[in-house]
Amino acid sequence: MRFNIYRYNPDLDSKPYMQEYELRDIEPGMMLLAALLKLKEQDETLSFRRSCGEGVCGSDSMNINGVNGLACITPLADLREPVEIRPLPGLPVVRDLIVDMEQFYQQYREVKPYLIVKDPVPEVELPQTPEQREKLDGLYECILCACCSTACPSFWWNPDKFLGPAALLQASRFIEDSRDQALDERLENLEGPFKLFRCHTIMNCVQVCPKGLNPTKAIGNIRKKMVKNSL
């Protein structure tokens, strides 16, 4: 199987280039990560992040044949040759397939992604009905892989002002949590023309999310809450 992989090492290269690789012995059911690991055995300088190998840690996100995804849950059988692999778009490249994710994490921190409870907490659990808890399904499962934000044109154009789908999904996760007591501040924090409202419902985020989550819908729900809250 043939691969075309983006290479750039700032210590050695004046500019990025695409390198061709070939791999024999493709086993049935093999994922892209397994192929990359085999290529790394041939060429130790090929650099990428990886850890859990089963789509829960979010390390090995990359652009695969033009679409963002996780290498460890992308079957080779689904990929057209030569498989073109690039770093996630829109973020500075550190080396090869490794991007600098600081801006993405900064956006995440900006939405105050933690439960805020102002009343004294009980000595047991805060009660929550199964129905209230169900509202968090589709929100809390995010693995911060950045596939969505780096597929979003609004993020590419205004990464410093628009928070991007991943951070907004997190905002929604706390806005929807029946235990949280900071709704007004959370909604106020998202006001203005950019932070949330730069979302033009292009829905690239939904298409690429490896966990099947729907940030566009979450953003829509936040908008509804804003309207309701302002009445």
Binding site: G29, E44, C57, V121, P127, Y140
Partner: protein
């Protein structure tokens, strides 16, 4: 070379999984200055992969009591667990869960609004009676929910993170005080000395020792390697848990919660195989018991598939609604990796390397202890360990499912509490020991050696190590196989000294990281194989075909392996804090 950058903190925490982050949060909220150093961004840590849940006797579903939890944990440990630490953990469990809930963990809920709890293996009511339901769960993504919530709370507490920095070695002075660590920034390859009054190792286990493993690629026993090189022995390393239900041939974990929800194992003849091995608890017997049962079925020719080399885990009778609600994560994993929907078809499973019961010996404050002269448990000033890298020991010879998330949270917190007190009495940094810095730098720079010198590659040696561990230190062991394993692994360790890498760049050099990781893994392999070879009995996860019985007279003691003095032993702490001791009994499920 320019002078190495130096940073000073009250506490250095190495590792940003659940144990490290729980400790960091406690310390940050107590206004200690904390540096958390992690080789990956915190939410990539392996806690994220924990599925089924966390044990605590909340009695939300069935009657329960911390004392019953304590009994189950001691029995599960095959009486090798330390009963004071186990009592402490089981008593602290409900509070640990409620704290997490207040931090925002989205636990699944019961109709009355309380936290959902499911049955797990080895749990009983009333000291060995009916099945209990003690495992608090967020669907089958409990680890993810906990890790993310803890990281989020640390953002609130403004903990100082060193993300994607690799810890090379502990720094220590001649009196044996630990002074911090030498780390380097993976992004630019620059070393930094972190000076700290207290250092907490929370680096997780060494599941990458085995070829087929449920563990992430980052689980390379880094803290265990650092401890051994600092002269600290590793305890009970022969006890390595094989999880009964990894996906056959691939290793992805299928949570014990699948059996807790009503799933069961069948062999090639279509029989419910666990009825033969654990008539009462059946599929919810302890993990060592279930793993041995599966391995025995296969050895005796009753496996499934064309090569009869796995058994099936059946869930389809539970119905799609239950599977989607309670086990959505493993459903996704099965569909991705097997093209099988467990709501329709059974899952092929095989015992898979999962958990390092052994580790860095600590007391129940998380302080690292080692034998000095006649004292078996002398405290090493300034050094702490918590979680899978530590050995308190609450898991003994076999860990119960649902007790590892509990372990990291209870002892991460306990270590932080002790550190807070220690800092009050130790207000100043001790002066740095430059010899120790030079030694750590030598280890770091050793990989600058060029491949032209003809060294073997790191990946080839790593593959050999995993093969040796699999063939010589698996579910069943015997003297001949282990002795050969010791020889092979000693040779591999020698060869690793001459290995070289083909990348000498400073920018995000993953080849160098993998080389340093393999050194740690090799150290863990040596400790595991040597300890296993020496222990001539069967206890918990350590099954010797040549010594099939537990031998309490000679072997109810902890192994200690160090580079300096090989194997040593110390007694099990059989005296709990406040209740009567549970004396060893035959272990029947």
């Amino acid at each position: 070379m320019a002078a190495i950058q130096r940073r000073k903190f009250d506490t250095l925490i190495i590792g940003a999984g659940g144990g490290g982050l729980r400790a960091a949060l406690k310390l940050s909220d107590a206004d200690a200055s904390v540096a958390v150093v992690s080789k990956v961004f915190p939410t990539r840590s392996h806690t994220v992969a924990a599925q089924g849940g966390m044990n605590a006797a909340l009695a939300n579903v069935l009657p329960d009591n911390w004392h019953w939890h304590m009994f189950d944990t001691i029995k599960g440990s095959d009486y090798l667990g330390d009963q004071d630490a186990i009592e402490y953990m089981c008593r602290a469990a409900p509070k640990a869960v409620y704290e997490l809930e207040h931090f925002g963990v989205p636990f699944s809920r019961l109709d009355n609004g309380k936290i959902y709890q499911r049955p797990f293996g080895g749990q009983s009511q009333n000291f060995g009676g009916d099945q209990a339901a003690r495992t608090c769960a967020a669907a089958d993504r409990t680890g993810h929910a906990i890790l993310h919530s803890l990281y989020q709370q640390n953002i609130r507490a403004r903990t100082h993170f060193f993300d994607e920095y690799f810890s090379v070695d502990l720094l220590k002075n001649d009196e044996g005080h630990v002074l911090g660590a030498l780390i380097f920034n993976i992004h630019d390859g620059q070393p930094i000395i972190i000076e700290a009054k207290t250092t907490l190792l929370a680096t997780g286990g060494a599941g990458q020792l085995y070829r087929t493993t449920t563990n992430a690629m980052i689980n390379t026993g880094d803290g265990l390697g650092m401890a051994l090189r600092a002269g600290v022995p590793l305890q009970d390393m022969e006890f390595f848990q094989f999880h009964p239900t990894g996906i056959a041939g691939r290793g992805m974990l299928i949570t014990e919660g699948a059996r807790g929800e009503g799933g069961y194992l069948v062999n090639g003849d279509g029989e419910r195989l666990m009825e033969r091995y654990a008539p009462k608890a059946k599929d919810l017997a302890s993990r060592d018991v279930v793993s041995r049962a599966i391995a025995t079925e296969i050895r005796e020719g009753r496996g499934c598939g064309p090569n009869k080399d796995y058994v099936m885990l059946k869930l389809d009778h539970l119905g799609e609604a239950v599977i989607q609600k309670r086990l959505p994560g493993i459903r996704q994993t099965c569909m991705t990796f097997l093209g099988i929907d467990p709501a329709e078809a059974a899952i092929p499973v095989f015992p898979t390397a999962h958990y390092t019961m052994g580790g860095i010996p600590t007391n129940r404050n998380g302080q690292v202890v080692m034998p000095v002269k006649d004292t078996p448990e002398e405290v090493i000033e300034g050094l702490y360990a918590a979680g899978e890298c530590a050995c308190v020991s609450v898991h003994g010879a076999n860990r119960l499912g649902g007790n590892s998330l509990l372990d990291i949270l209870v002892f991460g917190r306990a270590a932080a509490n002790h550190i807070i007190d220690y800092l009050k009495e130790n207000r100043y940094h001790r002066s740095m020991d430059e010899a120790s810095v030079n030694k750590a730098m030598a280890r770091f720079q050793r990989w600058d050696k060029k491949a032209e010198d003809g060294g073997e590659s790191v990946s080839a040696l790593r593959d050999e190590l995993k093969a040796v561990m699999e063939q010589h230190c698996g579910v069943f062991r015997n003297d001949e196989v282990l002795k050969e394993g010791v020889q092979k692994i000693e040779q591999l360790a020698e060869r690793l000294k001459e290995a070289t890498i083909g990348d000498h760049s400073d920018t995000f050099n993953t080849a160098r990281v993998e080389a340093l990781e393999l050194e740690n893994l090799m150290a863990c392999g040596l400790a595991t194989m040597h300890s296993a070879c020496a222990r001539r009995e069967s206890r918990g996860a350590h099954s010797r075909i040549d010594y099939p019985e537990r031998d309490d007279k000679n072997w109810m003691r902890h192994s200690l392996y160090s580079f300096e003095s090989g194997l040593d032993y110390k007694p099990v702490r059989t005296k709990p804090v406040s209740v009567d001791s549970f004396p060893p009994k035959p272990r029947v499920y």
